[in-house]
Amino acid sequence: MSNIPKHLKYTKTHEWVEVQKDGTVTIGITDHAQDLLGDVVFIDVPQVGRELKAGEACAVVESVKAASDIYSPVAGKVTAVNGALTDQPELVNKDAYGTAWMLRLKPSNPPELNNLLDADAYASFIASEAH
């Protein structure tokens, strides 16, 4: 069974979102997503300062199986990206919720965060997807 921490929010496209005290959000991909992808070999993160729309493709994760887009869960401006992933893409497989965070956003429309899934809803979503 996948690891789905209770304190995070999730999307149906398998990103996780952590709301920080200063109102910014940290974004990465879930343990379930990294398990589906297999060994990650390359990650492309967006430029700091880029304005993203909710649902816009903002990063690429490439594994030995496939290249997949990562979608921004909410609209906002990129305030930081995780440069360590360029040299160590394997962090995504080892520590999806920790050192493998991908980007930080300053949300431009914070109420959008209420549209995201909680841990239980995400768990039922991935159970329903496994048809």
Binding site: L36, G38, D39, V41, F42, E62, V64, K65, A66, A67, S68, P89, E90, A130, H131
Partner: protein, 482 residues
């Protein structure tokens, strides 16, 4: 061992060396190399043995069952290659006057006519040199059509989530925004979501039918109506044409433009990086925009190139001459050998073989991804249950098949289906061959439960054992250094 590792300084190959040396005095000194090229210095016998041994290590369709199917390489009859290599064809210069090329032009004209007939389209251009270039030509024509009508608000191309990666890449190359349409649990496009997605911004929908999920999009006529009513055009990706060859015509399904992969479906090996041929077919709406040159037939029965003068609205040229002549000739010979009666037999046997394999593999304990659907020319197994129970995944099973003398099917595509194997036997395999494959798969399934480590360690009998594909991708290094 690489040929470079056989090299000894000064060892030459006199019987193959030219006796006279070329006069290079006329080449300016800054264009001449200062050092000799670093070529291997080996004897003739060393070269012969090196490459013969390499070829013997090949896992090929000439020696073994190869369930990657038409997607990569189905069997390409020898006759097609032999005839395409006749001296009258190979000796023809592409710049020769039309009067010297009537035979070749005649073959190309007839190929255009055959492809029109088999796809139900109104006109065909053979010019695109690969599937991806065919897609580029197709979507460029969609763009030219909307532009010619002053309909410039159409900025979006719809692509199902099961599509080949080239579809969104093509749309992006042509300046469109890509919107993904999800697939439902039966492998069909979700019609409600499609209805919600179309509008005045829709330039078109790119669709592979049968889809990459190995099922025929049964609501295709409804899909057509939704897209056409919104003012968009319908693009047919011919990747899976083998399944419906001569049986169902994309033109009848309502497609406005189609590309065909002659190098997959019509008798040229594919999967080696080319050369290919990706002709495009269109209906009346898109006819003026076809890429040139096209072969036209005059009233006196002679043939000539149609160029910019004849087709002023053409999207232009995609190659110096007209595509890859050799591939087009093989396709022409293949089509003529099959004839109108033979073409549907390709589809019938490809589909029968796939359905037989799917039924038998399900009987022995494998899980079909879409059990309620009849397979087309290919089908998908999902090994998720096996992985959860034993730890053996799709890649392990694929590698173990090599030990039993079978090439692995496509793994992990489409990614929508977890732990999947995409199996395409094609029309040329006998029942005995298919039964052998089923037996091997059954043995591997038993091994996965009784001795999973055996399967996870495979292959054992190939020239190289399991390769570290993660290391290869992370530390790509293709240069040999002494």
């Amino acid at each position: 061992m690489l040929i470079f590792e056989h090299s000894q300084p000064g060892r030459t190959n006199p019987s193959q060396s030219p006796l006279d040396r070329a006069e290079t005095g006329g080449i300016p000194s800054h264009l001449r190399r200062a050092q000799r090229a670093l070529l291997p210095e080996v004897s003739e016998m060393q070269v012969v043995r090196h490459y013969t041994r390499l070829s013997q290590k090949n896992f090929s369709i000439d020696t073994q069952f190869y369930p990657l199917g038409s997607c990569t390489m189905k069997y390409n009859p020898r006759a097609c290659n032999k005839i395409a290599l006749l001296p009258g064809f190979t000796g023809r210069h592409p710049q020769a006057p039309e009067s010297f090329s009537q035979g070749f032009l005649g073959c190309m004209y007839e190929l255009q006519e055959i492809l029109k007939d088999v796809t139900g389209m109104q006109a065909v251009s053979l010019t695109p040199m690969a599937g991806a270039q065919g897609e580029f030509a197709g979507v460029s024509m969609i763009r030219a059509y909307h532009d010619a009508r002053g309909d410039s608000a159409r900025t979006e191309i719809l692509v199902p989530d099961a599509a080949h990666g080239t579809n969104p890449a093509t749309a992006a190359m042509c300046g469109y925004t890509v919107r993904e349409i999800p697939t439902d649990n039966n492998g069909d496009i979700d019609l409600e979501l499609l209805r919600a997605a179309v509008g005045p911004h829709t330039a078109g929908l790119m669709l592979t039918n049968p889809s990459t999920l190995g099922v025929f999009e049964k609501d295709i006529l409804e899909v057509r109506t939704i897209v056409h009513d919104a003012g968009g055009l319908l693009y047919y990706d011919g990747a899976n044409l083998n399944a419906i060859l001569g049986l169902v015509k994309p033109g009848d399904m309502g497609f406005d433009v189609i590309h065909m992969n002659l190098h997959k479906t019509f008798s040229t090996p594919h999967g080696g990086g080319g050369p290919g041929a990706g002709p495009v077919g269109v209906n009346e709406k898109l006819k003026p925009f076809l890429p040139i040159p096209i072969v036209g037939k005059e009233n006196d029965g002679s043939y000539r190139w149609l160029t910019e003068k004849d087709c002023p609205q053409s999207i232009g040229r995609l190659s110096a001459h007209m595509g890859n002549a050799g591939v087009l000739l093989r396709a022409y010979v293949y089509a003529r050998l099959l004839g109108r009666e033979g073409m549907p037999r390709v589809a019938h046997y490809a589909t029968l073989n796939a359905n037989y394999l799917m039924a038998r593999l399900t009987q022995v304990g494998f899980v079909a991804a879409f059990p309620k659907r009849r397979a087309t020319h290919e089908f998908i197994l999902t090994l998720k249950k096996l992985k959860d129970e034993t730890g053996v995944n799709a890649m392990d099973v694929a590698k173990r098949l090599l030990d039993y003398g079978y090439h692995a099917p496509t793994t992990y595509f489409p990614l929508l289906v977890p732990e999947c194997l995409l199996i395409e036997p094609t029309e040329t395999e006998s029942k005995e061959e298919l039964d052998g494959f089923i037996d091997a798969m059954q043995k591997i399934l038993i091994e996965a439960h009784t001795s999973p480590a055996t399967v996870k360690g495979a292959p054992y009998t190939t020239p190289v054992r399991r390769l570290d594909d993660v290391k290869a991708a992370r530390e790509l290094n293709l240069t040999w250094k002494p």
